[in-house]
Amino acid sequence: MSTELSLTGTLLAKAVKEHELPLGEVRADAAGSPIYEVSPDQLRAVGCQLRDRLGLHYLSCLTTLEWPERWEMVYHLYDLARKGNLILKASIPKEQAVFPTVTDIWPAANWYERECYDMFGVTFEGHPQLCRILLSDDWQSFPLRKDHPMDLEGGY
């Protein structure tokens, strides 16, 4: 179980340190990529800096995790120069469920955020068009929530 940073992960962590970004302690995921926690109110500012100063223009993936007490947004950024992933995580308490959008920072996030809304019911402040994307417009529930049953009674 590798929880150490990989070579590119170390490079990325070093770059983050050099630019003195307001990011917390670095952790590593199993693939050796650095994980940073960031508070939701700083998310957009950090995102802009990562993009403009570190050159992380490429948002590979964006998703939501549901934990018992909180929602966690996970941003997978790809660095084309250092050829590694940097992972940004932001958490909010469960009852709040509102994140700032990053669509204007990384246009690719648009549909991913819509998907998160569609599946988890997490909303994104400032998103240009937050509506259902994979499910039909009149769908009522948020299927990827842990309390959502596998078989929907009288469902579609």
Binding site: M1, A31, N110, L135
Partner: protein, 370 residues
């Protein structure tokens, strides 16, 4: 002087799909047209949503590979291997070298099969019926090879956590080598039919151009990104499996138009042939999978891994929590980004070019909708 009458024209809204011969599955494009020129485009997706991510939370690590094959039916090898690799990475399972090389071999064969399918259907989108059958004929050869190994032609369930499920039969190597020999000639045939076809060139040159900056913003990957001249290929950038030990090149395009994407895929097939040959030469003996308990439990942890599939970066973000099912599996598919990118590049193009451009992105809808 006659009275002036105001003449007003209105744009036309055209629903392309979801039942349309060339939307490669069920995609709906809401096109706003001015004559034949596209003023805006809104893709509507989700017609094939099967809740694969929800299923991942309710199926064990042994059951799920059979489902993830359905994620993307043309490159079922890739998604299967990806899922297995994620679980192995989190659990720290060392895969035997033979399994690693065999996975590499299968992935590259699958890449050729997928590109062939694209070639045939793309020419069909452009209105040429003939090439589809040639491409299918050669894809059959690869499917025969797959059938020989795992008994399936489309959905393989080949990779499992800890290795691969099936060993090669003794005749396999000979058959692959025969295929390599045949296929090199066939690529030349294709190039003489297609690449030098003036009508084809007329249709694809300078069509659907976009800048590398735009492509990066929308996280476009695979041949659509490389056609703009950005050399991003995860096989080279983050070598997985045996890709750091084989010799191959990553071709890039120069203009970012449809012709470049076509040329790239043709070049990639040639490179894949090289990799397949090297894999055959260097295929080590030994076990094809590690011995794991009947109920595979993966310790808590998370990993995001991505493979370079024929369509681009296909990734999986797995969060495991120590049970026999994963806590969350997020599938990142290139086609999702490409469909999202589509309205940007379709603006101002003609309706005849919609299929030329959309087809060149090689979008597969089951992958978008999951």
């Amino acid at each position: 002087m006659p009275e002036l009458v105001e003449v007003r024209t209105e744009g036309m809204v055209l629903n392309m799909g979801p039942q349309h011969p060339s939307t490669h599955g069920v995609l709906r494009l809401l096109l706003r047209l001015d004559g034949e020129v596209i003023k805006s485009c809104t893709p509507v997706i989700g017609y094939l949503h099967r809740g694969m991510e929800k299923l991942a939370e309710h199926r064990t690590y042994v059951q799920y590979p059979a489902i993830i094959d359905r994620f993307e039916y043309l490159t079922a090898m890739f998604t299967g291997v990806l899922y297995a690799m994620c679980a192995e990475r989190i659990a720290g399972i060392e895969v035997p070298p033979r399994a690693i090389w065999m996975r590499t071999l299968m992935l590259e064969l699958n890449r050729i099969a997928s590109h062939l399918f694209w070639l045939g259907t793309y020419l069909l989108d452009l209105g040429a019926n003939g090439l589809l059958f040639y491409a299918m004929r050669d894809r059959e050869l690869i499917l025969n090879l797959f059938e020989e190994v795992c008994g399936a032609r489309l959905l393989y369930s080949y990779a499992c956590v800890g290795g691969v499920r099936f060993d090669n039969p003794p005749s396999f190597e000979r058959h692959v080598r025969e295929f390599l020999k045949i296929f090199l000639d066939r690529i030349r045939d294709y190039e003489s039919i297609v690449t030098e076809n003036p009508v084809f060139l007329e249709r694809v040159q300078e069509v659907g151009c976009y800048s590398p900056e735009l492509a990066l913003q929308y996280a476009v990957s695979g041949p659509p990104l490389r056609s703009t001249g950005i050399r991003k290929d995860l096989r080279k950038d983050q070598p997985y499996l045996a890709y750091d030990q084989v010799d191959f090149a990553v071709p890039i395009g120069t203009k970012g138009d449809t012709l470049d994407r076509y040329l790239l895929r043709m070049a990639e097939m040639r490179e894949s042939l090289k990799i397949v040959e090297q894999c055959l030469d260097r295929l080590p003996d030994g076990n094809i999978r590690v011995k794991l308990p009947n109920v595979v439990k993966i310790p808590a942890g998370e990993a995001y891994l991505a493979l370079e599939s024929p369509r681009g970066e296909v990734g999986a973000y797995m969060v495991a929590n120590g049970t026999d099912k994963c806590y969350r599996l997020k599938l990142r598919c290139p086609s999702f980004n490409h469909v999202q990118f589509l309205p940007v590049i379709l603006l101002g193009e003609r309706i005849s070019d919609v299929m030329a451009i959309f087809g060149s992105l090689d979008v597969i809808l089951p992958e978008v909708d999951r």
